[in-house]
């Protein structure tokens, strides 16, 4: 089984086995064993629910720092998530943010709106050419992509089987800047400034396998203070500051990628759904699997309920930042001539194809059919013996999950407090109360 990278670590020192993370995990990927939470790597989709749920700060996101990345490259180019532009006070415009990024240590900031527009059009073309089952499901949210690979394996074929725009940006940046600077592409770093941990994972380990064109990512909080102070100074200097090039954010279409309805306008006249929040996405995917969702051609889904604007690596209050993004979009034209021209120039030769398609994650050691039937029957028999209250004290999120673990040899039935008094005594010892009772 391949080893899956994840974007967080659980600190055994801080974990008090309170079960909070285990209860919120949407794919039942967490168990609490011997008093510590552990992750079943092949089931984890990097949604970050456990990070948010842990009341003890025991689950910590692992992110690279700009300094780490800087030490490996001569030239660092930022690819800013559109979310970034809505994270600052009202007087700070996109151009000030760009100046802030340069002050924070980047050598250049990429005009990412071009790849986003190219990606949007490639996606619509993909949908037009698709004659398989619908809806076609967008792959922009790495959590949704991984959710499908883990929990809805047969729906992987419905994913938009294309490189996401950030990858195309990474590929283009390395080539373009290397040409400009007459250096090897290896010396140019394309760094995504991300609003969520999941993007980081998608760079470390792309869902389809293979390698990312991006060299790493930094979370918005990591650069926020440096960007903010330089951006403030730039805003104060206005209008004295001279523009050195075209504005980076020129269209509402660019900023719409920070909302969960990126494709709403492009899908007019077709069945279109935007679904946000992991729980709701799961509901809708269940309906798709049952064949209950009819007439939908395209679905974009986001693990976060406000789309990327409330990713776990954002700083500003999500409502405030949504408002700012809307205000910025209202001031901009839907499209702009510079982007249009560049998109038209690149579109005929731009290759969005994946090296290998998104496929289901490999099953956890299957065994032959008869062995699997034995396991399922055994799990059912065991589940009938368990109380069915899903208390979680065994360290599995539900009785049925413990039954499955036991049938698969990963746990014993004596972990249930209803089955074993010893287990209850062990828990008393572990959690301190009534420690010397028996």
């Amino acid at each position: 089984m391949p080893d899956y990278a994840h974007g967080f670590v659980i600190s055994d020192d801080r974990c008090v086995a309170c079960l909070a993370c285990m209860r919120v995990c949407p794919t039942c990927a967490i168990r609490v064993r011997r008093g510590k939470a552990v992750v079943l790597s092949e089931l984890c989709i990097d949604c970050g629910s456990c990070l948010a749920a842990c009341p003890h700060g025991a689950i910590v996101a692992t992110t690279g720092s700009l300094e780490d990345i800087a030490s490996r490259f001569a030239f660092k180019v930022a690819v800013p998530s559109p979310v970034l532009f809505g994270q600052f006070p009202g007087e700070i415009h996109a151009d000030h943010v760009v100046q802030g990024l340069l002050a924070a240590g980047f050598d250049a900031v990429w005009d990412y709106g071009i790849e986003l527009e190219l990606g949007a059009r490639a996606t619509v073309d993909y949908l037009d050419a698709w004659d398989g089952p619908r809806p076609v499901i967008n792959m922009m949210c790495p959590v949704i992509l991984r959710l499908i690979q883990v929990s809805y394996p047969r729906m992987t074929e419905q994913l938009v089987q294309l490189q996401p725009p950030r990858e195309i940006a990474g590929r283009t940046i390395k080539k373009w800047h290397a040409d400009q600077l007459s250096v090897s592409p290896d010396q140019v770093a394309a760094i995504y400034v991300t609003a969520c941990q999941a993007r980081t994972i998608s760079i470390i380990q792309p869902a389809e396998g293979g390698r990312s064109y991006l060299d790493g990512s930094v979370g918005i909080p990591q650069v926020y203070n440096a960007v903010l102070s330089a951006a403030r100074a730039a805003a104060r200097a206005e209008p004295a500051a001279e523009r050195t090039g075209p504005e980076l954010v020129r269209s509402a279409a660019h900023l719409r990628w920070a909302t969960p309805r990126v494709f709403a306008r492009r899908m007019q006249g077709r069945g279109y759904l935007s679904v946000t929040g992991l729980a709701k996405v799961i509901e809708v995917f269940d309906d798709i699997e049952r064949g209950r969702l009819k007439g939908i051609d395209f679905l974009e889904g986001y693990a976060c309920w406000a789309g990327c604007a409330n990713g776990n690596l954002t700083v500003d209050n999500v409502y405030v930042s949504q408002g700012k993004l809307q205000a910025l979009m209202a001031r901009l034209p839907e499209t702009d001539p510079l982007t249009e021209a560049e998109v038209e120039r690149r579109r005929p030769s731009e290759d969005f194809s994946l090296e290998q398609p998104f496929a289901p994650r490999a099953a956890v050691h299957a065994g032959d059919l008869r062995e699997r039937v034995r396991r399922v029957k055994e799990a059912e028999r065991l589940a009938a013996e368990l109380p069915g209250v899903d208390c979680g004290l065994c360290g599995a999120p539900a009785c049925a999950v413990l039954a499955r673990d036991v049938a698969g040899g990963a746990a014993t039935i004596e972990e249930c407090v209803f089955v074993s008094d010893e287990r209850l005594r062990e828990l008393r010892r572990l959690h301190g109360s009534d420690a010397a009772d028996d």
């Binding site: 269940d286 049952r290 289901p360 799990a379």
Partner: protein, 145 residues
């Protein structure tokens, strides 16, 4: 070998649209648990769901039964409903006797029976007017171990 490895059956209540689809959902969960090839699951679930919906729409009550062998999955849906007077006609795509209410709910577009036949490796439909309908399908597991 036709040895029965695992069997289940479910009761489906007619006109209970709230609970419609439950037995196909359970079959899907079971097949997933058994790590059956996703393409096979898809076909089995389409068959179970469409047949189940026919029961919900037209009959008072029916049963969905599921049997797994080493080679295939058998799904049989039997109801005590009105029966289908002209099976050939019913098998045509777009032929439907659904009411407006059923259509409003997104069903009854005449794709059910054709869809079932398309997804099955073998399919036998027997019906007697006034008595009921039985749909018996088999889906091969093929490459699956």
């Amino acid at each position: 070998m036709d040895e029965e490895l695992l069997a289940r059956s479910f009761v489906v209540r007619g006109r209970d649209f709230d609970r419609a689809g439950e037995s196909s959902t359970e079959i899907k969960a079971l097949l997933k648990e058994l790590e059956i090839d996703p393409a096979v699951i898809r076909r089995a679930v389409v068959i179970a769901f469409e047949a189940e919906m026919n029961v919900v729409m037209y009959a008072d009550e029916g049963t969905v039964s599921f049997v797994l062998t080493d080679e295939d999955i058998a799904i049989e849906v039997a109801d005590q409903g009105p029966g289908i007077p002209d099976l050939d006609l019913a098998m045509q795509e777009g032929w439907s006797t659904a009411t407006d209410e059923m259509r409003e709910m997104g069903f009854g577009f005449g794709m059910g029976l054709p869809n079932i036949r398309r997804n099955a490796d073998a399919c036998e439909i027997t019906s007697e007017v006034g008595r009921g309908t039985t749909i018996a399908c088999r889906i091969k597991l093929d490459g699956d171990a």
